[in-house]
Structure formats: structure tokens, C-alpha cells
Symmetry: C2
Subunit: 344 residues, 2 copies
DNA sequence: TATTAGCACTCCAAATCGATGAGTGCTAAC
DNA sequence: GTTAGCACTCATCGATTTGGAGTGCTAATA
């Protein structure tokens, strides 16, 4: 990478900051006036010309001011990241009411975050693929319906009604409950494989047919939560606040990806795989894998519930978003969320 | 109401249909050419002038063609409604895969509908306020957590983890289960009142403190589903297809109400209360109670699962929507949905 | 040699102007 | 009652103009 001398760095930094505030291309005269280094606009112009050649800034058209390129933003963000470690952030607590249901909590979190930042936000529920079974219970609701309830680590509950042809008597139900609990307890989803299932079927003996169905359904119940990576979003309409994203073509596509959520899900699983360590990631423009977000930046944080259970919070906004505020918000929230959810 | 002679009716009808197709204000000459009544544009002009005075059509500005007013649309829709009864609709089956989970089913329905009509759609899950308790089960997950599961009529399941200080032994758990099932079985949410709750508490005797919490939580669990009227939406971004709704101000507000859903919920409960009988309602412009939809029309259908359990499907689009298609779609879907859900 | 002042040049954005054409209302004739 | 004809209105579109912000280059300066 090409090194910038200190003056160039200062100028670049000033350009970016100014652009973040105003959203307008910034000219040499502006920098010359609002910066501590006392240089004439002409000198700044020369330096800007260099910076452009190096790829940090671009001109939207000849004889307009300069705006940061993706490379420029990257420079800015990396510098922020470095600063962040020493610095003590002083944002006021984000007010999150403690609620019982995780779903409500997550919905509230995205909402608060969207309000606070004025960008679009998303959050994924903790992925259960690595969570393990804590408790299984089958009970007869009526003659033809058995209710199966599975409690996972972290007290997440999944349930399902199973249809059976013949009623199952109490004794067998009890047996089955025992069998399931002793064999499934403590297992993660990935550990419940076909081998185990056939083994259980055999052990179940006489009621094999009914039991097969029950077992399959239990496995399915648990797996369900794995595939459908639950995602909550908020503030998608905030993009209308940023003219560079608000033309109806782009806005429509953008909000669609928020409505559909599949693409967000793939984005999130990408992120959770390639984790850095600090827990905060920034994707600028093209760096994001989602086509409709080429003009945006995505900032994400992974929150951690221990035992390998993770979820992701994300903020999507214009490239000229207030990275500092966003990163502070996220890193605070990520810790807060982790500790709240662990307690539940 | 003022009666229209036949010729006026025909002209009005022609104006509306033409406008629905083109979205452009329609002039006297157009009507004069494309209609079976052979009249010159001048005559049409005179009639149009009358129709305007009567409030059925308006001019967006002097010396432009006419467009239907809300009153005009109302005339058109009422006429459609009347025709609808005799007519056999011949739309091809909307393809809905049968899935196990109601949630998935509903999500799929709104999606299919949005795709098919190219408008924004919403659906409410069946309201449980009139549904009754079928089965209650408490089970000890570990020393400090009791899992309560409530199955409602229609096999809808609600569950909740209750924290308790002291472990509850098996015997007491069993007693409690008996108590709850015998007393709550068959009751609707509205029938579970404070009196009943205190009565149950007394009967529970020794463990009153723990039991109070359990009972409260059960009641709360059931009520939860009542307040939070679950709503699924799709195709909100379709409004960008209709220029008259697509300016960023309006679009932003519109999509916001779709994102938030609270307002939709109140709209839906309004609708479910004031039901007509045919099951299809049309709200044109100002007739809708939601502020952000003054420029839209809302068409809804109530689907019925029997026993007073109802849900609502809705389509929101521009006033110049294809009412016929929309109404046909909805009335077909409403029946289909009813029968699918009843079977589950 | 680095910095600066000055000036010509570029280009966008907003304002202005006129032409076009669709559509009306009115009047007078049929 | 219907129609032809005509003057008038008004939104839309394109071309033109203008103003201003900003650049690049050159020559002068420290």
C-alpha cells in the first residue's frame, strides 16, 4: 500500500469528515478555510489532485468538489477502528426494557437502534445449530394429536403438534418420554443423526410406526430453527433520508431485500463464519456481498451467548454514515445483549 | 342519493374503466371514440360536466381530462359487488403449497397474493380471543424453571418458561396440572377473569405463592396472543409501480405503516368488528381509517374457521386498482384458506 | 523548491422561454 | 337535444441562458 505523508492524511481526513456532515462534494476552498493547517486553496488543490491519483477521492464530474472513494472510506474506518481500542466510549445507555420473550427483546432492539441511528437495522436470533437439547416432552392433547415440546439450552422452546392415527396410551407415552430425554439430552442439533434415530426407533420396539413419526418430528422440530435463521428488521424507510439512495428504483430494491430477508440471512451467515475477533465488521460499498447494497455501507457486530451460540446485529446506511456513532452503538449493544440474553 | 340516467351511467363507467387501464385523465374525445353509444365529443363534454357537478369525477386541473372521484369509484365498486353474486369467477387456482405450520402458510399466502396482484398485501392470523383452551401442561425443566404449554382450539400452541424459586415436586406438579385442566378447559380468553383466578389460587392451597405466579403466567400466555394480533405482509414495495403513490414522501410513510404493523392491526380489528356478510369489504380513499392510505384503496376479506375464529386478508393498492381481479382473488382465497386451516 | 494569487475554463443546476398539444367551455347552427 | 367550430387554458417538454462553484494551469513570490 502507498503511504500518505501526514499532510495528505490530514487533508483526506478533513475531506471525509466534511463530506460525512454535508453530503455535498467538498472543494479546495472549504478545506483551506475550515482546517487548522493554514494553506491556500491552491495548495490544497495540488494535494487533492495527488489524493485523487492515489485513488482515495473522486470527482463526481469535472469541476465539482471531491468525494471519498471506497478506498477513502476504508482509510477512514481503519483509522477509527485503531482509535477505538484506547478510547472510552461515552454514549448514554440505550434504553432496552427487559422483556421475557426473546422475540420481543430482539424486535425492540432493532427498533431502538434504528431510531437512535436513523439507519436501517437488522438482527438475527441466536443460531441454535450449536445449542443443545435440554428437555423433551410429549403429551397427548386428544386422541389423534400429540404435542411435542423441545426446550433448548438458553430456554428456547419449540413445539409441534403431531398427528397420530391410533391413540397412544399413557404408559407408552411415559416410556417414550423417558427414552427421548435420556437419549437426546445434551445433544446438539448436528449430533442428532440418522444413526441415532434408527437406534431409537429400534429401542422403541412395539410402537415403531407411531414412534418413527414422533422421532422424525422431534428431529425436524429442532432442525427447523436452524434453517430459517430468524431475522428482525427495522427502519428500512430511513434510507429516504439520504438522497443518494432515495431514488425510487434503488429504494424499491433496497426495501425489498429488507422485506424478503433471505439475502440478509445469507449476509449474516457469511459474517458469522468470517469473524475477526473484535466483533465489529465494516463493509463498504462493493465489499458487501449483497448486490442491492453496493451503494451502502454495512456495519455489523456479533453478540455471543457463550457455548458457540452467536447472533448478529447490523446497520445498513449510506456510505457517508456516521461510522463512529454506529460502531460505538453496536459495540455497546453487543455486550448489553449478550449479558441480557445469557441471564434469561 | 341522486340517480343517474342510463346514458350518464354508461359514460361514467367508460371513464372509470379507461382510467383504470391507462392511469391518465380521460378526455371527452376518447370516450366518444371507444364507446358503443355514438355521440360526439361535445355531447360527452356536456354530460361530463354534469357528472362533475354531481361529484363523480374531477379535473386534476383546468383543461385536463377527468378522473374518477372517490364517489365515482364507489359507484363502480358497488356495481361490481352487485354483479359478483351471479357471476362465476374463472381465475385459475392460486397455488398454495400445503405446509404444516400456520405461520409458514400465512407468509406464503401473502407472498403469492402480492405476486399475483402486484399490490401490497397483508394477512392477520386468526384471532384467538374467541378460541378456547383445549389443554394445559406444566412440566419441570430444571429446578428453577417450569415450562407451561397451552394448546388452544385449532391446535395453536403457546408456551412460556416460568421461573420459580423453590423446586416444585412431581406430586404437586401433577395436582396443579389436574387443577388447571379441569378448570380452564373449554374456556375462552375472555372467560378467564380475575374471579376465576382467585378461586383457583385458593383451591391450590399450600403452594399459593408459587401457584399464583404460575396462574398469572398462564393467563398472560393466553392473553398474549390476543393483544399482539399477528400480521404478515408482503409486496409493500409494489407501490413504486404506481407513480401516483411513488413520490418518496408518500412511499416512505406507506412502507413505514407496513413495517410497523400497529396501524394495520387496528385497521384489521376495525374490519373484523364491522363485518358485512359477503366477507368482502372495499375502502376507497378517505373511507380507510389509516391516514397514510388516503390515496389508496383497501380491499379486505375475512376468512372464517368456524366457532367465531376469524382472520383477515387485505390488499392495498392505488385507487385505480383492478377491483374486479382483486375481489375475485380474495373471495377465492378466503374460502380456500378457511378450508385448509380447518383441516389442520 | 514549495506556496500562492490570478485567471480562463468547465460543467452542473436552476431559471426562463416558447412551442406543442390535449382538453375544455361556450356559442351558434342543425 | 346534438353537434361543429373556435378561443382559451394549462401542463409538459426541450432548448437556451445564466450563475456559481470548483478546477487546472501559469506565473509570481518567499
Amino acid at each position: 500500500m502507498d503511504a500518505l505523508d501526514e499532510r495528505k492524511e490530514k487533508i483526506l481526513y478533513a475531506i471525509i469528515q466534511n463530506y460525512l456532515e454535508t453530503g455535498e462534494p467538498v472543494g479546495s476552498r472549504t478545506i483551506s478555510k475550515n482546517s487548522e493547517l493554514n494553506l491556500s486553496s491552491a495548495t490544497i488543490r495540488n494535494e487533492m489532485s495527488d489524493l485523487e491519483e492515489l485513488g482515495y477521492i473522486v470527482q463526481p464530474h469535472t469541476s465539482a468538489g471531491r468525494i471519498p472513494s471506497d478506498k477513502g472510506y476504508r482509510f477512514y474506518v481503519d483509522r477509527l477502528m485503531a482509535e477505538k481500542d484506547q478510547e472510552v466510549s461515552d454514549i448514554k445507555e440505550l434504553m432496552i426494557e427487559k422483556t421475557e420473550k426473546m422475540e420481543k427483546l430482539l424486535k425492540q432492539v432493532v427498533k431502538v437502534l434504528a431510531n437512535n441511528t436513523q439507519y436501517a437495522t437488522m438482527i438475527s436470533a441466536p443460531a441454535l445449530s450449536k445449542s443443545s437439547v435440554k428437555f423433551v416432552q410429549l403429551s397427548a392433547v386428544d386422541e389423534h394429536h400429540i404435542l411435542s415440546v423441545v426446550v433448548m439450552n438458553g430456554n428456547l422452546v419449540k413445539n409441534k403438534i403431531i398427528e397420530v392415527e391410533k391413540p397412544l396410551d399413557n404408559e407408552n407415552l411415559l416410556k417414550l418420554n423417558m427414552l427421548l430425554n435420556t437419549n437426546l439430552n445434551g445433544l446438539t442439533v448436528s449430533q442428532i443423526n440418522l444413526g441415532l434415530i434408527t437406534m431409537l426407533k429400534e429401542q422403541a420396539g412395539i410402537h415403531e410406526d407411531i414412534i418413527a413419526q414422533v422421532l422424525n418430528t422431534v428431529a425436524e422440530t429442532i432442525k427447523d430453527s436452524d434453517e430459517g435463521l430468524e431475522i428482525y428488521t427495522s427502519g428500512a424507510t430511513n434510507i429516504f433520508k439520504y438522497p443518494e439512495l432515495a431514488d425510487s428504483q434503488k429504494a424499491s430494491e433496497f426495501i425489498s431485500t429488507f422485506e424478503e430477508k433471505e439475502e440478509l440471512a445469507s449476509l449474516i451467515s457469511d459474517i458469522e463464519d468470517g469473524e475477526t475477533g473484535t466483533g465489529i465488521q465494516v463493509y463498504i460499498g462493493d465489499e458487501s456481498p449483497i448486490e442491492t447494497m453496493k451503494d451502502c455501507s454495512v456495519v455489523t457486530a456479533t453478540y455471543d451467548l457463550g457455548e458457540g451460540i452467536k447472533g448478529t446485529i447490523g446497520i445498513i446506511g449510506p456510505k457517508r454514515m456516521d461510522y463512529k456513532k454506529v460502531m460505538d452503538n453496536l459495540s455497546q449493544l453487543k455486550d448489553q445483549l449478550g449479558s441480557i440474553l445469557k441471564k434469561e
